[in-house]
Symmetry: C2
Subunit: 143 residues, 2 copies
DNA sequence: CCTGAAGTTATAGTAACTCGAAAGTTGCTT
DNA sequence: AAGCAACTTTCGAGTTACTATAACTTCAGG
């Protein structure tokens, strides 16, 4: 069975050694072992679990809730219904987050096009200083 | 011309008064006025600009970069090319973020289905305690 | 005039990292 | 054998973006 050091885990997961230790210190990796020098020893399933943590973290779940979920997993199958609810919740949250991001993306795209247009119309060296409290300025910018 | 207090702005934007003040203190709202009691006075274009800030913030731009972008907008039209690059960059970032979230969502959906299946197969009261260091446990969970 | 609601500043607390220092083990290398 | 590089450890401090609290001012209504 393969084992890994923090650095190796960091390389495999894309996390930093700091973050991996942070997660371990906060109980998110309950099965990590220690060798005779007190160094952390990770297994393949620890790495897989770290990927699950990354998934939850990236979709906005706070550390203490991931900790709670981890505890439920360790506790066994009788916690499946609770875990099901947690995941369902996380699914909803993520769907919403994606929708929001798509709307923001539309706003950004509009801006990009807007700037592109300005740069097309103005000749390369014909930009003029604009009035600092010009309504155009912030209003056009914000819209 | 309509003006607004912090609280009104908070209501209109969905931000908290704390956050609005925080943004103002950090130079993200360069045109906010003060009345004789030193209270902040916001205009409609300030609110629109706050919505732009929210867009950038939600798509991951840090405060100091938003500050920088704000300064460019205030500076005038000669900064349009730089602003264009910033927005293009932000667009790319957001597209990637959405892609990542969609992948994580797939993982979460898989989990939801997995749990649903377990709950279907097991009768309501037939959950058994599982071995705490069961390979099944973390491995199945992580996958 | 008093109370209450809103505003102000300054300061402290929080989450999730992020980093640096000091110290301990290894394994090589001169 | 000594030393040095490359790891690891813990601990404590720093960072970002809020979030909350304390202490104060100001004003409108009863």
């Amino acid at each position: 069975m393969a084992t890994y050091s923090v650095q190796q885990v960091a390389n495999k997961t894309g996390l930093t050694t700091y973050t991996v230790r942070y997660y371990h210190d906060h109980g998110l990796l309950p099965f990590v072992q220690r060798d005779k020098n007190n160094n952390r020893v990770f297994s393949d399933s620890d790495i897989e679990w770290l990927e699950m943590i990354t998934c939850l973290r990236s979709t906005g779940m706070p550390i203490d809730q991931i900790k709670n979920y981890t505890d439920l997993v360790v506790e066994g199958e009788n916690t499946v219904p609770e875990r099901y609810q947690i995941m369902l919740n996380q699914q909803k949250r993520t769907v919403n987050e994606i929708k929001e991001l798509q709307q923001h993306l539309a706003t950004i795209k509009y801006k990009v096009d807007h700037y592109a247009e300005i740069m097309e119309n103005h000749e390369p060296d014909s930009f003029e200083p604009s009035n600092i409290r010009d309504k155009e300025n912030l209003k056009t910018e914000a819209k």
